[in-house]
């Protein structure tokens, strides 16, 4: 730039903003290093920047009414739990007995009830329907009678409401073998139900879905929601039910599918056996739905507020256990703590210090929150509701009292019941649907969150160097090539311009290579669909065949479309093709990451962490080998290590190893993981195959570039 400015002093100076851009491009190395470092640093800073949650919607008014759930309801619920627990599954071979029991209790309370029979739908990867809305698909396989799931759905119609909205309570239980925890969750829902049939303040209808989870909790809830929202009126699928439905009890089963308006919120209630040593009962919250969608933060706030202040429960969100005792995090926490104390000693107003334990807990929760969102797989049956734009959350009461339930039975039911009652009452107060608070956030603890405005900073910092480096590489290579051109042709300035313009289209060859590789990525995305058509193969063989097929298709594609190699040979003399290739690769990676950040931010964030250093670092090994300096050696080593680490299976096994230990990780696990990604329609799968993998291949290509 300087030389150009000197050479042509007569020309008008470019505008300052352009000059700033040129300056950044010319110093792209320092800028990119600084940006990447700042991005990672900002990510580590997020637990400190987290804000306390607050209830944004005033209409919620949590805890403003004293709970009405009485001991009467609870003792009735206890009798119900005892009936469920002592239910003899052997005598009722039809396996519909427990649904009848639940339904009988609902009708006795004055609610309406219906049964919903469903076939467990096998999640199948269909690449053509990837982002489409959940459709009604009817399983074609012949199921035996026992493989039906039967959901029991109870309704309370709000006495003075107009029935436009409803609140859903979900209690998954296994109808074949109901555990104590499931029975207790049914009991909690029953106590709420019996209370709500009597109250006068109800403005929204209540739906109690006792989901039959013998084929999985998610499948049961999903089947019911599908029938609720997209029923099929053609009788083709239903005749199966009618023929097999033989009511053993002789009583008329209410089979009409009942509905109750638009859903305002859904609560999934679970009870699990907690550890004995916890001094208080723990409430675990699960909120992540598919593709990193979260329920409105207000819902979490209300549950958290009521659980902590009303019921004295300890609220937890999932955290990454392995991070809790990692030395580097601890030392980082200590560093931040020291910085905070120093800052406070300078000025008492600077109160950004955070205690060591708090920081570690916060980062572990944040990491788990990021991971779960990035995975794009819902963490429970609440995830189905989000697909229908319903805010929902799973409340898992992990009680130490489940074990000694016999001794103090009422306490757990009362506590859980009052919590749920409070949440329902708050949601019932709502006139509008949840919209006040955040939808895009990461949790660092149940009462602390990082909003989108803050957590996008690390991503922006990570991604910012990519276009800069791409531009810098591009200008670099064009200048060199044109320099060569001028040297060779030694032509005057007049004929210089067409030559440059001709040569500046050179990047199209690189773009072609990049395009071919990305196209190959699309093919790789579709391959598992065909692999899954082949029945009965182990994960390992599937994985291996996937990899082999992928490599094979890459070779074929290059043979057919890839005249790039011939081009490489032609231009080898110039030796600068790799910079163009790298530049286009980086541009493609940047585009991919930015698009992904719109679809699933957490995936893009984690992807950028891996992809950005690799893309920026790559450089042909030959060049480094020729240089034979310590610097080049280190750079080559770094490149190789990065390439190795970022290869998706390796990254997965390392992650798995960090979580559960490497000795437990099997080779086939990766296939299972990928399978879970596509069956859950996670966009992460698409990202991995169509952005991450092609970039990785291109980087390998650049590394092995013959110079």
């Amino acid at each position: 730039m300087e030389t150009m400015a000197d050479a042509e002093p007569a020309k008008a100076k470019p505008r300052p903003i352009i000059r700033l851009g040129l300056f950044l491009i010319s110093h792209s190395f320092i800028v990119s290093v600084a940006c990447c470092a700042a991005g990672i640093f900002a990510l580590l800073l997020l637990p400190i920047l987290a804000k306390n949650t607050y209830i944004s919607e005033n209409a919620l008014m949590p805890g403003s009414a004293s709970p009405m759930l009485s001991n009467d309801d609870v003792s009735r619920a206890r009798m119900f739990v005892n009936k469920v627990v002592s239910f003899d599954f052997k005598t009722d071979s039809s396996s519909i007995g427990i649904q009848d029991l639940v339904a009988q209790h609902i009708t006795d309370l004055g609610g309406e009830v219906n049964f919903h029979r469903f076939l467990p739908q096998v999640n199948k990867f269909n690449p053509l329907h990837f982002f489409s809305s959940p459709d009604q698909g009817i399983a074609q396989e012949n199921y035996t009678c026992s493989s039906y799931g039967i959901n029991t759905v109870g309704f309370i119609r709000a006495p003075r409401g107009d029935g436009k909205e409803a609140i859903v309570l979900v209690t998954p239980y296994n109808s074949v073998k109901t555990s104590m925890g499931e029975a207790l969750s049914l009991g909690i829902a029953y106590s709420i139900f019996s209370l709500l049939t009597r109250v006068t303040w109800l403005a929204k209808d209540i739906i109690w879905l006792a989901a039959d989870s013998q084929h999985g909790e998610y499948a049961a809830v999903a089947a019911w929601l599908r029938e609720y929202h997209t029923p099929s009126f053609d009788g083709s699928g239903r005749s199966l039910f009618e023929s097999n439905a033989s009511p053993t009890t002789g009583r008329k089963r209410p089979n009409d599918f009942l509905r109750a308006g638009t859903m305002a919120a859904a609560l999934v209630i679970k009870v699990t056996d907690g550890s004995e040593k916890a001094e208080r009962d723990v409430l675990n919250l699960y909120a992540e739905a598919s593709n990193g969608q979260m329920p409105n933060l207000d819902l979490i706030n209300v549950v958290n507020y009521l659980a902590v202040n009303g019921q004295r429960l300890r609220v937890k969100v999932e955290k990454l256990g392995s991070l809790l005792d990692s030395w580097w995090l601890r030392s980082l926490a200590e560093l931040f703590h020291k910085l905070g104390t120093v800052a406070r000693s300078l000025n008492p107003q600077w109160n950004f210090g955070i205690s060591v334990a708090e920081y570690i807990e916060g980062s572990a929760t944040l990491a788990s929150s990021l991971y779960n969102q990035a995975l794009g797989v819902p963490t429970g049956p609440h995830g189905v509701f989000r697909d229908y734009q319903v805010d929902s959350i799973t409340m898992e009461i992990s009680a130490k009292r489940v074990a000694n339930y016999k001794n103090r039975p009422n306490e757990l039911l009362l506590q859980g019941g009052r919590l749920v009652e409070g949440v329902i009452r708050s949601v019932n107060n709502l006139l509008e649907k949840f919209h006040q608070s955040f939808f895009l956030y990461l949790l660092t603890s149940p009462n602390k969150f990082v909003s989108v405005g803050v957590y996008m900073i690390p991503f922006a910092l990570l991604v910012a160097p990519l276009p800069m480096v791409a531009a810098s590489l591009f200008t670099d290579s064009t200048r060199r090539i044109s320099g060569m051109g001028t040297k060779v042709a030694s032509s005057p300035a007049s004929s210089d311009i067409p030559a440059i313009s001709f040569r500046s289209w050179r990047w199209l060859h690189a773009a072609k290579t990049v395009f071919i590789v990305h196209f190959w990525g699309a093919v790789v995305t579709l391959l598992p669909h065909f692999l899954s058509l082949v029945q009965d193969s182990s994960p390992l063989t599937n994985l291996l065949s996937w990899i082999i097929l992928s490599a094979f298709t890459l070779l074929i594609l290059q043979a057919i479309l890839g005249s790039s190699f011939s081009l490489l040979h032609m231009n080898r003399t110039q030796g600068m093709e790799w910079t163009l290739l790298k530049s286009v690769t980086i541009a493609a990676a940047c585009t991919g990451l930015c698009i992904m950040s719109v679809i699933n931010f957490a995936t893009a964030e984690l992807g950028a962490l891996m992809l950005v250093p690799m893309c920026l670092m790559t450089r042909p090994l030959m060049l480094d080998a020729k240089a034979k300096t310590l610097k080049s050696f280190i750079r080559a080593a770094c490149n190789v290590v990065l390439i190795f680490l970022v290869f998706p299976p390796v990254a997965y096994y390392l992650w798995k190893g960090a979580l559960v230990g490497l000795e437990n990780a099997r080779v086939g696990d990766f296939w299972n993981w990928v399978e879970s990604l596509w069956t859950w329609n996670s966009a992460t799968y698409i990202y991995m195959c169509m952005v991450h993998l092609p970039c990785w291949v291109l980087c390998v290509h650049t590394l092995l570039y013959p110079c």
């Binding site: 100076k13 003075r160 107009d162 509008e432």
Partner: protein, 661 residues
Amino acid sequence: MVRLRSILLFLLLFKCFGSIIAEEEDQIEQFSEALLLRPLPDRKVLAHFHFDSKVPPTRTHGSHHHLFPKSIYQLVHKFRVREMELSFTQGRWNYARWGGYDPISSRNAKPPGVELWATFDVPQHQVDASWRNLTHALSGLFCASINFLESSTAYSSPQWSFKSFATNIRYGTLPREAVCTENLTPWLKLLPCRDKAGLSALMDRPSIYRGFYHSQRLHLISNEFDLAAESSGMVLEQTLTVVLQPVTLGSGMTSSVGSIQQPSWSLSTLFGRKVSGRCVLSNASNVYVQLEPDLVSELKATSETQQQSDVGNLISEAWSDMSFEMSESAVRVIKEANGFLKESSLLYEFALENYSDSRPFDLEFRWKRPVTWSSQLAPLQARRFLMGSGNERGAIAISLKSVGISEYAKSSVNEEGRCLLRVDVFQVVPWYIKVYYHTLKVFLDERLHSLADVVERTNVSPSEDKVSPGLMEIALRLPCDVHSVILTLEFDKGFLHIDEYPPDANQGFDIPSALIRFPGIKTKMDLFEDKSACKSPILSKLQEESPVLWYTEVLLVPLTTPDFSMPYNVITITCTVFALYFGSLLNALRRRVDEEERLLKNKAAKPSGPIGVLLSKLSAKLRGKPLEPPPPSSSSKVSYKLILRVILVAGIAAAWQYFYG
């Protein structure tokens, strides 16, 4: 007496056939009140107040009234209303439990919120103006936002599905209107005794608003302006229908046998008040207790001493004494003489004339044994729901399910040996729900049928954006043995302009209730009674034939809403975009490269003041050039330009402020 009877007979005939019958005129204004109580199968009690005011035509009677409310009279005269009905409803009528076939439910079960329809006796082109004026007048009269029905997007003119033989009809609903005591008070003011005496004194506000269903209705008929017909004056019918839950001690759910012990109730436990006598201005003041046909048969069946009963000795029969008792003795018992139903309902009549302050009327109804029964249901159970999710599109589905009673089939149309049931569907959809009427699908018994087989007649007027709602009227002809009928209609969700959003837009938008009408099936009670008793308007109303109606649920459609809480962001980003655009545009227009060069050279030759030095230093920094030694000359030209520029900007700002501020 004879006169009265003939008047009633006349009214009855008039309404049935719409024919013109000249009769002798009665010159007296009349007012009557009645209360009908009916125990419901799900442990609740229906209370139906019925007030009826009649005024003879103005031609013979003049325009001075003693009983008839003046405001209504003036309303009718000003807007030339022929017939009008206004209802305020809270809660949903539970058709499955409280019945959908009897006259009371098909007349008084109304959609939630406000429903208003009126027919006018004006030329076609004046109807809309009359309607608009009427809505405003009613809005003021009843303290409700009925005036929102003024907008042409809020009302429609059904042709035949809502009401047969009606022209110049306008229909509008406000599903979200909250109903409370402020609407009841003006309604009570129309009564001659208000709520100070008579049956309306029972209307203790907390009690009636605690109920499960609450619908106050005002129905007005006048043929004052019908020049061809002999005028019969105006009839104002005011009803209040409430469903109350009697307070019971202990919540005994089920008895050991399984049948439910019904709660006993009295007027004082239901309403917290007693009736201390009739409204002295009323001609008739009666209380009725109705037992539904199924209940009567159930009671008879369970009674051991069941006899083949005839009408005469009903009161003395043992079955009624065994099952329940009432604290007051009925003046008479009216039995329904129904042709095809197995059993018929019973009406116990109590006259309030016999009661006074010293001896208030407090009817107590006490059950002696548990009993279960079910109400008379409409032939098809209608439900309506939304399908699909997301902010883009969806579908409305109306499902009709047979209750499996074949008795109605007998009464329905028989032609060519096939039993066919006619069902009219009337649906109004706001314009922002863009319904594609060609996507109408009809599923009979879970099989897709072609429309030509099922649909007899349709009338569709598609919605026009921001002008009129969509209106759909369909007449279906269904085979009587059909089990389930499902109609689906697909729609796109529209966008509203930002100032068209109502308050609380994030709640979603309502689709008003659809009306399912069974024109072939008429409901009425053929009361078997002595002729002298036909003086009570409520009884004559019950004997009137009316089609069975069913209002479906209101639907809530979530639409996309802008983020109203962020106007600041919008303003900021708009201003930034404007500033960038105008800045660069002005810059490009103003810049002259040659002149700048010359200026620079001039500047090099001239010295400048301290400000000039600073400016040139700054500009040199910005331009990335080493600072040239400041030329020693005055910068009068530069500062003039600067001042000019500042003045220009200030002037633009002032003009902007003046025109847009």
